[in-house]
Each structure stands twice: as C-alpha cells, then as structure tokens.
C-alpha cells in the first residue's frame, strides 16, 4: 500500500466531494447519454474534411505528384512538413503516460488517456504523408523486408528513411497496446453497468472478459510499468530518427548534430500544445473540470515553457554554429533562411515558438484558460512553421544559383493536410463519445491521497509528530507482512 499522507503543498488532483462511485458516474455516464448537438456538428464537419482529404489524395494519386507544388529544387514541401508536424504532436501522449509514470507525477492520471488517444490519432495522420509522397503508392509495400521476386532485393537497412518506417510503425503499435491495456479495466466498468444489450455485448467484447482479480491487477501493474519503461526510450528514439532523415544528409541547414535533442524538445512542445487545445474543450463539454483541473493545465503549461525555451536555445545554437563553422555554405543557408524571400516563415516561427511562450513564466497566465487555449494554437502554428523553415528554406537556395526556386503549395497538398485534420478529429470525436476519456481505475487509485475531500482528512496526520506517523506506517506495513507469511 502506498503512503497515506499527501502534502498540502500539492493541490488536489480531483476537486470537490468524490467517492469511488461518483468517479465512475462522472466519467462513464457521458458514454451512456445521447451526444449533444455540438458533438454532431463537430463530428459531421470532421467527416466532411476527411472526405475532402480523400478526394485530394485520390486526385494526387490519379494524376501523379505533378499536381503538387514541389519541384526539382524543393522536393519536400508541405507533405513532409505535415508529416514531421503530426509525428511531433504524437509525442505528448506517450511522454505523459510513460515518462511521467516513471517520474511518479500524479497529475498524469487525469490527462493520460486523452493524451494517448491523441498520440495514436496523430501518428495515424503522420503516416499518410510519407506513404502518399511515394507517388506510386501501390508499390508502397516495397519498404517492407520480405522475400520478393526482385532478387530478393531488400530495403536499405542503413537508410534513415527505412529506420523511420520501423520507428513509426513500432511507435504506433506500442502506443496502441499501452493505451488499450489501460482501457481494458475501464471497458469492464462500462460493461458491468450497461443497461442496454448492445452496450453490454460490445463493451463485453472490448473488455476481453476482464474481472479485476487481485492477480489480474498485479500483472496489469507489472505490464504498465514495463511498457512505460519500453515506451520512454522509444518516444525519444522516434523523433531522433525523424531528425536523422535530415541530419544524416549533407544539406546545409540539415547537417547538424543538434537535431535529435532539438527535434525531441520541439515534439514535446507541440504535443503538449495539442493536448491543451483538446482538453480545454473536452473538459468543458463533458463537464470534467473537477478531474482535469486548472492545476493540470498549469503543469502542462510549465512543460510548454520549458520545451519552448529549449527549442529557442536550439535555434540560437544553430545560428551560432553556422557562423562559427566558417563554412560559407552553412552561413549562406542561414542568411537566406532569415533574410531571403521566406523571411516571414522564419520570423513567424521565432515569434510563436520562442517569444510568446515566455509569457507562461507568469503564473496568472499559466492558470488562465482562454489564454492557454490561444497559446496552444499559437505554439502549433509556430511548430508547423519550424518544420516548413527547416525543410523548404534549407532547399530553396542550393549550391547552384541557376537552380534556385520558390515553392507554394497547390490545392491537393492543402486538401491533403486538411484531410488529416478531418481524420484526427473524426477519431477524437468518436473517442470522446464511446471511450472513458479519463482513466477511471487510475483516478480511483489516487483518489484517497489526492482527492480534495480526502485531503482534508490529512489534517489529523499533519498534526501528528514524526515518531507517531512513522510508527503507524511501520505497524501498517508489518501487519501486511504478517498476512503474507501466513
């Protein structure tokens, strides 16, 4: 059993009077009700966007990538920008559920389920871009290492692009397993209180027949801990490998060793911003303000200001290194990046990512919900520009001035991007309606130490002397040992 005392210094993770049943009631009952008008409007709008995306992609596949704005000089445009952007967003979920679990951050329990769902949907969106960038997408399976009739000619295992295939598919699979293993007990909760036959059947199927015996839970804890241990280096490896797509090349502006940590920090930065965007809305619509408190939002804003500052230092380091390297190619790349025809993208990135998040040093602003919401969108705009800056402004003025070019996206590229928003929000709306948006079992686990009404009872323990408190903990422990040896 964990220690019974929780400091007053920490604010409660669950507000107002709650007991176990009330927690179930608050989180599960939205699944059992008919969704509101806003849900239908939002869902249908997302599906419409998704269909527009399907149309744009079909157009691109049918007519070929000539329909896109990319050219011989700028071979990667919106498509790869969007890929890196979505993958980056897909980092917050696993960071919250895995790394914060290892760091024993109690506040993760309120937000991990939704954040991880967001991760999975973001990675699904990200995956579309490299696949359709192949052009002849029907040959896409060539990236898989299987015995084939072409030799067998294998993919190049030394190429960062193939590492990416492995990294992203592994990341998707492991995140999905981690998410679903946490969902199984909560689906059992939905199943056991289901009033309709259909709900009982579907959630019975989805819960795998979970009953929650002592042994079940013991293995569940072991599984969560090891999966967290595995997912922690995994989440760091994914964006590291994405950065290798650039860093292992010899293009000025890409060929730098700072890329892996810089990309990971940027990924966490944008991922937390997307979590904020979604949760600020979700907590309001599903009335979960007592579980996703302002304290939760503030904690995530702290992560945003930290990672935003890391990203800012990385930008300045890049500038310093290009000057200090003495390599004129590097210097020219950064000169054209900052002052060339794409100057606006560089300065949009700088403003949104480095300057504006510094406002989060002010506590009042960290705890201000409308400000948090606006800032979360500003950060994601900034992080989109970061990827655009890295990709397009490193390419558009290359070694031969005769091949310098400019790039603007064409409608199928824009449509493709909008379509991934459709995919993302369609999935998120379905998730918010049919899944427990907060990990019910995990909230119950922390309720007696972190719930507001239980915290009030800590006053008695607070008044105890150290000797009294330690004596109680020891006897408590000893009585369990005794039972175990029996």
């Amino acid at each position: 059993m964990h220690i019974k005392y929780e400091s007053f210094v920490r604010e409660p993770l669950v507000n107002s009077e709650k007991d176990y049943h009330q927690v179930t009631e608050d989180i599960i009952s939205p699944i059992e009700k008919k969704p509101g008008r806003m849900w239908y409007v939002g869902f249908l709008f997302s599906v419409a966007l998704l269909l527009y995306g399907v149309f744009s992609v079909s157009w691109s596949v049918y007519w070929g990538l000539g329909t896109w704005g990319v050219n011989k000089t700028i071979g990667w445009g919106w498509d790869i920008t969007n890929f890196v952007w979505w993958v980056g967003i897909g980092h917050a979920g696993t960071l919250i559920s895995a790394i914060l679990l290892l760091f024993r951050q109690g506040w993760r329990t309120g937000v991990n389920r939704a954040a991880e769902a967001m991760t999975i949907f973001a990675v699904m969106c990200a995956g579309q871009f490299p696949i359709f960038h192949m052009g002849r997408v029907w040959d896409g399976f060539f990236v898989l290492p299987y015995p084939n009739s072409r030799g067998p000619l294998w993919p190049n295992f030394n190429s960062p692009l193939l590492w990416d295939v492995f990294a992203i598919s592994t990341y998707f699979t492991v995140s999905l397993l981690f998410w679903y293993s946490g969902l199984i007990p909560d689906f059992a909760t939905v199943r056991d209180r289901a009033k309709t036959k259909f709900r009982k059947m579907t959630y019975g199927f989805a819960s795998f027949g979970w009953t929650g015996t002592a042994k079940n839970w013991q293995r569940h804890e072991a599984l969560s801990l090891v999966l967290a241990g595995l997912a922690t280096p995994l989440v760091l490896s994914v964006h590291t490998i994405v950065s290798f797509d650039f860093a292992t090349s010899v293009i000025p502006g890409w060929h730098t060793t700072i890329f892996p940590p810089y990309f990971v920090a940027g990924a966490v930065f944008s991922g937390f911003a997307m979590v904020q965007t979604l949760l600020v809305i979700t907590r309001k619509i599903l009335h979960l303000e007592e579980y996703i408190t302002i304290g939760h939002l503030e904690a995530m804003n702290k992560v945003i200001v930290l990672t935003g500052s890391i990203v800012g230092i990385a930008y300045l380091t890049e500038l310093f290194m290009s000057w200090y390297s003495g390599a004129w190619g590097e210097q020219a790349a950064f000169k054209w990046r900052i002052l060339g025809p794409y100057w606006w993208s560089y300065w949009a990135m700088m403003t949104c990512n480095v300057v504006s998040p510094q406002l989060f040093w002010v506590k009042k602003l960290r705890r201000n919900i409308p400000f948090t919401f606006v800032m979360s969108i500003v950060v994601n705009i900034g992080m989109w520009f970061e990827r655009f800056v890295i990709i397009v402004t490193s390419l558009y003025r290359d070694w031969i001035p005769g091949s310098w070019a400019y790039y603007s996206p064409q409608w199928p590229e824009v449509g493709f991007y909008l379509g991934t928003f459709g995919l993302f929000f369609t999935c998120y709306f379905l998730f918010a309606k049919y899944f427990p948006v907060i990990a019910v079992a995990e909230i119950k686990f922390v309720l007696k130490t972190s719930g507001e009404n239980y915290k009030r009872n800590m006053q008695a323990i607070e008044n105890q002397s150290n000797e009294e408190f330690l004596h109680e903990v020891e006897t408590d422990h000893a009585s369990h040992e005794e039972v175990a040896h029996h």
């Binding site: 964990h2 176990y20 049943h21 290492p145 294998w154 190049n156 295992f157 030394n158 960062p160 193939l162 590492w163 492995f166 990294a167 592994t170 699979t173 492991v174 397993l177 981690f178 293993s181 007990p185 059992a188 909760t189 056991d192 209180r193 289901a194 259909f198 009982k200 059947m201 019975g204 199927f205 795998f208 027949g209 009953t211 929650g212 015996t213 002592a214 042994k215 079940n216 839970w217 013991q218 293995r219 804890e221 072991a222 599984l223 090891v226 999966l227 595995l230 997912a231 280096p233 995994l234 490896s237 019910v440 079992a441 995990e442 119950k444 686990f445 369990h480 039972v483 175990a484 029996h486």
Partner: protein, 192 residues
Amino acid sequence: MAIKKFAVACYDDEEVLFPAVKQVRNSGYKIHDVYTPFAVHGLDEALGHKSTDLHIAGFIFGLTGTSTAVGFISWIFTSDWPLNFGGKPHFSLPAWIPITFELTVLFAAVGMVLTFCYLNQIMPGVKKHVFHPRQSDDMFVMALELNEHATEQEAIDFLKSTGAKETSVQIAEAGWWYGRFDKPEEYERLNA
C-alpha cells in the same frame, strides 16, 4: 472449468477489505478470488500471491527482437545480397542500431501483452462470471468457495461479521468460457 458454489461478500472500502482478508484466511475458508475496481496495492501479498514473472517474459521477448534484427540484417547485407554503399563495410553494425532497438521494443511489448492476456485468460469473446455488477465500480468483492465442510449460513454470518455490506450465495462457473455478456441465459444453461 467447473460449476461451484460461492459465498460472496461485498466491501465498500479497501480499508475494511484488508482485515477481512486476514480474518478469512486465518479461519481456514478457501478464498476463490477478490475482485477490485482498481489495483489495490498489497492485496496480492495479503492473499499470499507470489509476485509476477511477466517482466521476465518481456525481457526474453526483447532479446528475441534484438537477435532477430541483428541476425536478419547481417545475413542480408553480408551474405544474401551484399550491396556497396559508398565503399562502407558490409557489416556496418552502428547503422543497424536504430532498427535493432525498434525491433527489441516491438517484440518485448507485443510479446508481453500477449503473455498478459494468456496468463489472465482474457481475449475478445471470453466471458467470466461477474459476482457483483459493482465490482468494477466501487465494491471490493470476495468470493469464498463453499464445500461440504462449510454450510452456507455459517459462511455468510462469518462474512457479515468481517464488515461485508452485502452478501449472497451464488452457483457459478469458476473459469472462463466463450460467450457474450448480454446473454445471462447462457449462464443459466451452464448451471442446469
């Protein structure tokens, strides 16, 4: 799989459950299982369960992934179809680290989840008897196996004395079967 008779007690707090488990074990009743809505730390020890070896399975699956990646890539690039990438050695281990790492994690995670499902005997389509619909909500449910030595009434009275809020006697399938949770009649057929 077997149909058995159970005396079932529901507690509304884990702090009542722990002394109850101790009393029941001391009195010689056989605890079939305890069902809780969330992980109650120390309950496995209190019931005398050994710690799980699931993480060892994870380690073995991870090693399988590592050796699969290294073995497969080195076979391909040194013997099956050696390619010359700018004069670099065919056996270029550093470049294989990313894929080796990813496959280690992938094998460990997938293997562990499958082992977890196998050990817990859970799968889509599997059905188990739910002793109390609130065992996944706010009730801590203990089921005792009844046999010829223990009469129903004695067991129920004893459970009440340990602080149970609700008690009942149930005849149920102790294991799992393929079935649907929306079909209670299936359970009656099993009992017939």
